[in-house]
């Protein structure tokens, strides 16, 4: 049933072959087709603007008050491209291979290759839009290197690369909004997908300012709603990131792939107390000069500066001499957890490790360090009140990126006819672990270059009907609106004693401890029953104030948490089913004697794609991954 529709031919020709054969629609006819885009992050804004430039009729929805606030804005580090401007041996093939290996060989070769292939064009596009990437004095673009690779292929705009790329896409979107074929609806949240005979025909949204519920018809739906790492409550994501858009599509038949593959970022700030609502990411670039350590002795309460060198354990350098402090994210995070669990964690909650610049300052001088990381040190001081020039920073792993998401084929179309999924919301290119600076790239490439081709190819075979909504659409839309209203009212009418936020915190705690950085069968079985119990309590004891017909943040949160509670169960199911360790998915039962992930290519070389059956029941479908062009290897960074 799962057809990934990978075009024939050699790896390097697949995308060209696809484009050569893709069907086109005459420019004059394009405006008869309506495309709905959900999300205005990099993936949503770039695709919507590109569709409108082509002449399609586009309607865009975001729950944010402005398209510019999508969470892509927060990405700091950079965006990768195989330009090989540094002459250091980079190539499309190498970038493809790094990404595939970084993802522990759990992604589709053809998709990953296309990502690397389109990366160069993205840098060209961004520069043309005015993105102020870092430059050399000669005027040429600058690059830096990022975790998990040995070339410098990362383009960056100080510590605000995501913001600058997003503003480029946002401006392109606003330019189209001023013209006739694009309409942007801010403060509208998608709460349902409308299907007729298994085909996607529209969505139902709630106006967050008035509470009005409306339905909108489309000939193709593009969901670009971002990641769901916030399901862990404490994460590096923005407060409002959520899974509702993809979960609602899932409930209508779209398969959910590898939902348990969440990346934990190794250099977040640790949780300092129970009041905390999110964890702030410190750029990974700090690992270029900072050295990570914990005291050798467990429960050491000395001030870090008083701990002599021979009593410090630079555990990454010890375990991974070739990559040291630059080991990939999953490996660095897990190594930190291993030390924290061994009782060597530091900080008030004993949940952190040190990132120390003492040696870098001695080697390079404070001025150089200030030049490289000054803004990050200032940010650290603002948040923690501590001076990282005087004492080491404290960092800890935090939920960060969702490799999992809605299953899509090579065209980025889900198994649901007419539903395309772009950016972090899909499962496509990163396998079981994402490399730094590859996801801004993926969101952009999906939106600017892939979707415009594949959605047109799809629409060319469809009869446009969304602009003259039929009776059958009206009926389906009414049913959808009624269902949404019913659900909202049900949440409002529980009138219990516990807020959605409090439930979300409990949910996060269960997932962090039992299905987080490392997992085992026993804990996950316990997590399952705890989650089921929490879900039951939620529907008995939820407290949502106010009404549906007003601005009501608590109601918005409750709807999202209801979906998160269902999704959490699938996350556990997915992690339980996969009896191997790969990338960010570390099953304690499956590890090598020295504690590394033990993959099982014989039995698990597939993508798990889950079908929703209702009542917390799911059916597994497998997309077997065929490696035609590379050989599967054990990932080693030693």
């Amino acid at each position: 049933m799962l057809n990934s529709r990978i075009p024939a031919g050699p790896l390097e020709d697949k995308w060209t072959n696809y484009k050569n054969k893709a069907k086109l629609i005459n420019p004059a006819n394009r405006r008869r087709y309506k495309i709905i885009v959900v999300g205005t992050g990099l993936a949503g804004a770039s695709s919507a603007a590109s569709f409108a430039e082509l002449g399609f009729n586009v309607e865009v929805f975001t729950f944010h008050d402005s398209a510019r606030r999508a969470h892509s804005v927060a990405a700091q580090g950079g965006v990768n491209a195989a330009k090989d401007y540094q002459n250091d041996g980079d190539s499309v093939w190498r970038m493809f291979y790094d990404t595939l290996k970084g993802g522990d060989f759990r992604a589709r070769e053809a998709n990953v290759y296309r990502l690397a292939e389109c990366s160069m064009e993205l840098i060209d596009q961004a520069v043309a839009q005015g993105v102020p990437f870092a430059r050399e004095y000669s005027g040429y673009l600058s690059n830096r290197s990022f975790g998990g690779v040995q070339v410098s292929r990362t383009f960056y705009a100080r510590g605000q690369t995501g913001q600058q790329l997003l503003l480029g896409a946002y401006q392109a979107l606003m330019r189209q909004n001023a013209q006739d074929n694009l309409t942007l609806h801010t403060r509208h949240e998608m709460l349902d997908v409308i299907t007729i005979d298994g085909k996607v025909k529209g969505i139902t949204v709630r106006n967050l300012d008035t509470g009005d519920i409306t339905s909108h018809a489309c000939d193709a739906l593009v969901i670009a709603s971002g990641g769901y790492g916030k399901i862990y409550y404490l994460s590096t994501l923005a407060m409002n990131c959520n899974a509702t858009a993809i979960w609602r599509a899932h409930a209508k038949g779209a398969l959910m792939a590898a939902p348990s593959w969440t990346q934990f970022h190794p250099t977040s700030l640790p949780q300092l107390g129970d009041h905390q609502s999110k964890l702030t990411l410190m750029s990974e670039s700090l690992r270029n000069d900072g050295r990570i350590w914990v005291p050798k002795k467990a429960k050491d309460t000395r001030n870090p500066n008083e701990i002599p060198e021979n009593e410090r354990d630079y555990y990454l350098e010890r375990r991974y001499p070739a990559f040291g402090n630059l080991a990939p994210r999953d490996i660095s995070s897990r190594a930190a957890k291993e030390r924290i669990d061994a009782g060597c964690g530091v900080g008030p909650m004993k949940n952190a490790v040190y990132l120390d610049f003492k040696h870098a300052v001695e080697r390079l001088g404070k001025e150089v360090i200030a030049q490289r990381y000054g803004n990050l040190f200032t940010m650290y001081q603002k948040i923690t009140g501590m001076d990282a020039y005087q004492e080491p920073m404290m960092i800890a792993p935090a939920a960060h990126f969702s490799m999992g998401g809605l299953w899509v084929d090579y065209r980025l179309m889900s198994n649901l006819h007419g539903l395309f999924v772009l950016g972090e919301a899909n499962f496509s290119d990163h396998g079981a672990n994402r490399l730094g600076a590859n996801s801004l790239l993926q969101a952009c490439v999906d939106g600017y270059f892939i979707a415009p081709r594949t959605v047109m190819d799809f629409l060319a075979e469809e009869t446009p009907e969304a602009l003259n909504a039929s009776d059958s659409f009206e009926q389906a839309a009414k049913a959808s609106k009624d269902e949404v209203e019913k659900k909202l009212n049900a949440l409002l009418n529980i009138k219990g004693t516990t807020t959605a936020e409090e439930f979300h915190k409990q949910l996060g705690r269960i997932l962090y401890t039992k299905c987080g950085l490392s997992r085992n069968g026993k804990d996950m079985a316990a997590a399952k029953s705890e989650l089921l119990e929490l879900q039951q309590t939620f529907y008995k004891d939820l407290l949502v104030p106010g009404t549906e017909k007003d601005i009501n943040f608590e109601l918005e949160k409750a709807f999202r948490v209801a979906d998160y509670l269902e999704m959490a169960l699938l996350i556990v199911e997915d992690a339980l089913q996969r009896q191997e360790s790969c990338g960010a998915h570390f099953r304690e039962e499956y590890q090598t004697p020295d504690g590394e992930a033990l993959r099982n290519d014989n039995d698990f070389c597939y993508v798990s794609a889950w079908e929703y059956l209702g009542n917390n029941k799911y059916q597994l479908h497998k997309e077997h991954l065929n490696f035609e062009f590379v050989e599967l290897q054990t990932r080693s960074y030693k």
Partner: protein, 243 residues
Amino acid sequence: MKLTLHIWRQTGNKDKGTFETHHLDDLAPDMSVPEMLDHLNIQIIKSGGDPVAFESDCREGICGQCGFVINGHIHSPESHTTTCQTHLRSFKDGETLHIEPFRAKAFPIKKDLMIDRSAFDRIIESGGYIGVNTGQANEANSTLINHDLAEKAFDAAACIGCGACVATCKNASAMLFTSAKVNHLSMLPQGAPEAAQRVKNMIVQMDAEGFGSCTFTGACEVVCPQSISVFNITEMNGRWLWG
């Protein structure tokens, strides 16, 4: 730690609004201001009240979604800091805080601390872009941009669209916001061809939105979380007068 809050409550744009008082105990100095409001809201909800409507998303100072006036300070008593990056250690135990929304005619209040900043989007829509379609771009390194110019463009481009500059200005002028975008794009070679129309269209839109005129007090730069320089305004005026 303990704080007393006088917090602005207003049910909608037509309502007059008023301060409401709340006492908070059990606060931690490491809490951010939005986290304090989360705490307050749980307290309000549990006692059967209507929680304070306020917006924040990234809580890292980059999305531009938050922003209140705290004891007369726009965003924060700390300089160049967003509300979400302000922590309670910036206040004294037992202090009283007045918290109210950013106020400007062009930013109508929606509810409590929430305001409507869509006027900024319409200014961008009127010309705050480079008119390049997907696929038209030439090779990135074929446009050389000197390091200092790229840095200068970045300084202007760093604006987060929070509206603090407008809120602090006695004329509620949007000149800092508008000039930052005009200059970011127009100083770069890619943005030069449209420079003359861009500045004209964006200023016309800014005026149409009801923002006031600039009397160059420099108050905006002081509160701007991204330290956008007021010289952007002078530079934009130059572009406007001399094209």
